[in-house]
């Protein structure tokens, strides 16, 4: 059913990810781990076309961009993982003509039923976040399932019952939990770090949150760092001037 479930009930579970842009190092482990799990799980096959050819193509559910912000001393590069945000009002679901796209009432996960999807691609047009990728070979739309086949899977060890991307992240930049529960670890983290929504003005109400990069610091462990331009300038003592003279003679 592509009409949306009522998610305004108190205590409504909203499973999602919190992604820390401060600690993500862009190693692609989450993307690879996602691909590896999902090409054998719910989304299988997650097809690649000509993977070793000159122009490989394929469906991936997680893409890691690189962006740069700020100017001068405040310029910084950062890595930006992008996947389905499991929105509270996902237009990708309501535009689906067949009911293949749906939002689960019990935990808010947005899924595609691969047995009823006709591959019309309209859902991918309705998503502002580019979260859905069409599998040309399978003829259906693929998207992040929040590893629905892991998180409730009692055949896995308890510590493995979280999305593959979260499990794979070597820097702890990805967090999984219930964002509908304000006392959950992820909700507390979002509150403490000022987590934000992507394109909030579009009103899709994403569940996933992003944590901003921490502001640049000039001290490390209480010690002020030396500005680069003063390094090697010396303190003007007699010894410094002698060394400076020798340096000039030898240069």
């Amino acid at each position: 059913m592509t009409t949306l479930p009522d998610t305004t009930k108190p205590g409504q579970k909203k499973l999602g990810l919190v992604i820390d842009l401060d600690t993500c190092v862009g190693c692609q482990a989450c993307a690879v781990s996602c691909k590896e799990w999902n090409t054998q799980g719910y989304s299988a096959p997650l097809t690649d076309l000509e993977p070793y050819g000159p122009d490989p193509a394929g469906a991936w559910l997680n893409r890691i961009h690189g962006y740069e912000t700020g100017e001068g001393d405040n310029a910084r590069g950062l890595h930006f993982p992008r996947s389905c945000l499991h929105c509270e009002t996902p237009a990708c679901v309501t535009v689906c003509p067949t009911g293949a796209s749906y939002k689960r009432e019990e935990d808010g996960i947005v899924l595609v039923n691969p047995d009823t999807c006709i591959g019309c691609k309209l859902c991918s047009w309705a998503c502002p976040y580019g979260a859905r990728e069409y599998d040309q070979d399978d003829g259906v739309m693929k998207k992040c399932t929040l590893c629905v086949d892991r998180i409730y899977n009692e055949n896995l060890e308890p510590e493995d019952r979280q999305p593959a991307c979260v499990r794979a992240c070597p820097t702890g930049a990805r967090h999984f939990g219930d964002l509908g529960d304000e006392n959950s670890d992820v909700s507390k983290l979002v509150k403490a770090r000022g987590g934000f929504d992507l394109l909030p003005q579009m009103d899709y109400k994403p569940v996933n949150k992003y944590l901003p990069p921490r502001p640049r610091r000039d001290t490390a462990g209480g010690v002020k760092s030396t500005p680069l331009e003063t390094v090697g300038k010396g303190d003007g003592s007699l010894a410094e001037r002698v060394f400076s003279w020798i340096d000039e003679v030898l240069s």
């Binding site: 962006y67 535009v95 006709i118 580019g130």
Partner: protein
């Protein structure tokens, strides 16, 4: 947006078919039975043939055409589903109307009721087609208030030129009401499209890369997530047409104008040349509709392009 040929063919062919069907319905409602069996039968077949060809071609771009029947189920939320339901529903009164219209001695009241129902359903189907696009918040050019009117006006204009050509072929190019409707529809189509183009050209961007990434301010892309083009880029990041947009728009305008002149000429001459002029007008208006529809897709920019280096949309 990537302009899929099957979707362009579908929206223009079925648009012309529904426009013709609506005009035939109104003709039956106002004038009673078809004046000539063959004129009626051929016109109905052309209308339903275009609609059917369009609907079939729309399934060509599906990953699983054999599951297309499932698209009738979600009419509560999906404009695509509504379009499918109405497209099929329109066949019922249209076929009944067609039969009554071409057969002599039909009940005039029943014919009028069926004609009007057919015309209304045909136009509502076209509105649903347009709403598939106009309801997407991610593509601002499609949120323009003229998107739905342009779909309807192009449907009527292409349908009217078709009807005019059919009437001419059957020796009836001189019907004043038909000539006037055709010319007015062509003029309105041109004006509506021009205003739409001016409108989208002057749209101020409202979303930036800073909004999309949540980082605010000036954000620059320094690394793509993948080495070759992915689905998102090829489907949503189509750019080829933009550099030709001006020329293509002039072609649309020129074709509409030439079609108008030919209809006018055929209307005036009622002789042997009339069907030739009218059929040429059909060709010209078809080119205008296809190019216009191609630009509608190719010029539309999607919000997701902000993640791929576009600074603002």
């Amino acid at each position: 947006m990537h302009p899929a040929y099957s979707v362009i063919l579908f929206t223009t062919a079925s648009g012309a078919g529904y426009g013709l069907l609506a005009l035939l319905g109104l003709t039956g409602a106002s004038h009673g039975s078809a004046s000539d069996f063959w004129f009626g039968a051929v016109s109905m077949l052309v209308a339903l043939g275009l609609i059917t060809a369009g609907l079939l071609s729309s399934t060509f771009h599906l990953g699983h055409p054999e599951r297309a029947w499932r698209a009738f189920s979600q009419w509560r939320s999906s404009w695509l589903s509504r379009e499918g339901v109405l497209a099929v529903a329109t066949y019922v009164p249209a076929c009944l109307f067609g039969l009554l219209w071409v057969l002599p001695g039909s009940n005039e009241t029943l014919l009028a009721v069926l004609g009007i129902i057919t015309a209304i359903l045909a136009m509502v189907t076209v509105i649903c087609t347009a709403m598939i696009y106009a309801s997407l918040a991610t593509i601002r050019a499609w949120r323009h208030w003229l998107v739905v009117p342009v779909y309807v006006i192009f449907s009527i204009a292409t349908g009217a030129v078709l009807l005019f050509a059919l009437a001419s072929v059957f020796g009836r190019s001189g019907i004043p009401a038909l000539g006037v409707i055709t010319i007015v529809a062509l003029v309105l189509a041109g004006i509506a499209k021009l205003v739409y183009w001016i409108g989208i050209d002057n749209m101020k961007p409202i979303y930036t890369m800073g909004d999309a990434t949540g980082l605010g301010g000036d954000v620059r892309q320094w690394e793509l997530p993948h080495t070759s083009e992915n689905y998102i880029q090829s489907e949503m990041g189509f750019r080829v047409a933009r550099k030709h947009a001006r020329k293509l728009r002039m072609i649309v305008g020129a074709c509409l104008l030439a079609a108008l002149v030919l209809v006018w000429a055929a209307f005036g001459f009622e002789g042997d040349a009339a069907p030739v002029f009218a059929v040429l007008a059909v060709l010209l208006v078809s080119v205008a509709a296809v190019v216009e529809r191609w630009l509608f897709f190719a010029q539309a920019r999607h919000v997701v392009s902000l993640f791929y280096g576009e600074q603002s949309v």
